[in-house]
């Protein structure tokens, strides 16, 4: 850091103090973390059942054997997540806007949107997956999807779309009425005020909760195993029931954990950027 003035002795002293304090805090954090981990490790490994647990859940050879197939299957989770995410956002935005807009010719659509959110927010996602996964093929409709992947994506979209629609709607309603007044006063129509003034603010506001929902969506792609889609959990199940071991489940869990980390960091980055924007450093 270079300054345009000669830094005073007092300021140097302050900086030195802050450095010392930060080092002390780091040390405390490090030591306490290590102590907690060691104690936890000792407690777990001294438990009477630990040897059995280690063999069934944490067997290195089993893990190595299962890894490639589970990795391949996990790509299906990622794909389902990415496709569903886009569809969910589109559906949710549509539903939220339909529910907010006060327009007479929208009345029938509003009823549909309201019933949709009520029904799908109230139904467990697992049930939606089962109903869509087995129900739609059973209908035998011409042109209805039969691929397990797409049936799964449709189920997740329907279920999460209802949640996300409500989050977006809450965001729209949270924008202060004076912003509406301001937009309309410029001569912007209702739709243009919604699009250029209100929605951008609403979406920014709900981004953190939405990302949280998407972390949850990423995990819920495992629900698609119940209709027989071979994704990570299903693949782990296949290994497990063949070899009577549980280590493959732990491997699958590790994939899910690792996949959510980028999303978490992305959320942090977004909030940081928003904070910087707010403070005006554009």
């Amino acid at each position: 850091m270079s300054t345009s003035w000669e830094v005073s002795a007092r300021q140097l002293e302050r900086l030195a103090y802050r450095r010392r304090r930060d080092r002390r805090r780091m040390t405390i954090a490090l030591v306490s973390t290590v102590v907690v981990l060691v104690v936890a490790w000792l407690l777990i490994t001294s438990a009477p059942g630990w040897e059995r647990v280690r063999e069934t859940y944490f067997d290195w050879d089993d893990a190595k054997a299962a890894f490639p197939d589970i990795a391949r299957a996990f790509l299906t989770n990622i794909k389902a997540f990415l496709v569903a995410e886009v569809l969910i956002l589109a559906l949710a935005l549509l539903v939220a806007v339909v529910r907010v807009v006060p327009s007479a010719w929208m009345a029938p659509l509003k009823v549909v949107a309201t019933v949709y959110t009520d029904v799908f927010r109230g139904t467990p996602t697992l049930l939606v997956v089962l109903l869509v996964g087995f129900g739609i093929p059973a209908l035998g409709l011409q042109g209805a999807p039969t691929s397990l992947f797409w049936l799964g994506v449709i189920a997740l979209t329907l279920s999460y779309g209802a949640y996300v629609a409500e989050v977006i709607r809450a965001g729209i309603l949270s924008v202060h009425p004076s912003q509406w007044a301001s937009g309309r006063s410029l001569g912007l129509s209702y739709g243009k005020t919604l699009r250029h003034v209100v929605l951008p603010q609403a979406l920014r506001r709900v981004t953190p909760p939405l990302l949280n929902d998407f972390v949850s969506l990423q995990k819920d792609t495992a629900l698609l195993s119940v209709i027989g889609l071979v994704e990570a959990l299903r693949q782990a199940q296949i290994f497990s029931s063949r070899d009577f071991v549980f280590t493959p489940y732990v491997v699958a869990a590790a994939f899910f954990i690792v996949a959510t980390i980028p999303l978490a960091r992305f959320t942090d980055w977004l909030s940081l950027r928003a904070a910087r924007r707010q403070s005006g450093a554009a």
Binding site: S182, L186, G187, S189
Partner: protein, 244 residues
């Protein structure tokens, strides 16, 4: 010459609270009309009725030769010719100052971005805001934000400007710059209706002053008449308190 903007017997009620009880108002082109009155007397409500943000409960409003309280009127068409600046600025926080100013011209008037930005920059420069164009509103002082709000309204080239207590949310230090901007607009011939608590300023710029009390205009006349020789006792009392 007939008035550019005219209110006839305008009434507005919230629940059982009569906020405006038959207000008449007439604004000629190039004139400045000041609304004064105690807090809660209905000044903001009247302005919100004039740009159709509120639906009147009785009476008529005429603008540019047409009755705009006719329910068949396209409110967006009317509003593009009526600039409004609010007490709390109400800038769009997610956009830069420049985008705030160009949004109306681009999305309502259909101006091209380049043209709109060129004119916006010229306006911002005139009001001493050239350096702020790329910033977001939150990074500006209150006085700067209020001047941006005025520029945003002006960018639509309105026929009349409604100003609602544009200085009352500002530090005393910042009031001067905003009043200077209004003074300049008057000199240019802008038609203005402004609610204000700045009595000295009203006295200086107003062609007509209306004193509102509980939703009734109890005094109207030139600034000279209202401030030096008020006829209504309520006006006298109000002025005694506010000119002290």
């Amino acid at each position: 010459m007939s008035a550019l903007l005219e209110a006839r017997g305008v009434r507005k009620t919230y629940g059982d609270h009569d906020v405006l009880k038959g207000v008449d108002l007439s604004v000629d082109t190039h004139h400045v009309v000041c609304l004064i009155g105690a807090s809660g007397s209905g000044k903001s409500t009247l302005l919100r009725c004039l740009n159709l943000l509120e639906v009147v409960d009785d009476g008529e409003i005429w603008f540019d030769g047409a009755e705009i309280t006719d329910p068949r009127v396209d409110v967006d068409d009317v509003r593009r010719d009526i600039g409004t600046v609010f007490q709390a600025f109400n800038l769009f926080p997610h956009m830069s100052v420049l985008d705030n100013v160009t949004l109306g011209p681009r999305k309502v008037r259909g101006a091209r971005r380049g043209d709109a930005e060129e004119r916006a920059t010229a306006l911002l420069t005139r009001f001493g805001l050239a350096d702020q164009a790329r910033k977001h509103p939150d990074a500006l002082s209150g006085g700067q934000q209020q001047r941006v709000a005025i520029v945003r309204a002006l960018a639509m080239e309105p026929k009349v400007l409604l100003l609602d207590e544009v200085t009352s949310a500002l530090d005393p230090m910042l009031v001067g710059g905003v009043l200077e901007a209004v003074r300049e607009l008057k000199a240019e011939g802008m038609t203005i209706v402004m609610a204000t608590h700045e009595m000295q300023f009203a006295r200086e710029v107003a062609d007509e002053v209306l004193f509102l009390e509980s939703g009734v205009v109890c005094e109207r006349g030139t600034a000279e008449q209202v401030f030096t020789d008020p006829s209504d006792p309520r006006t006298r009392e109000f002025l005694a308190r506010h000119l002290a």
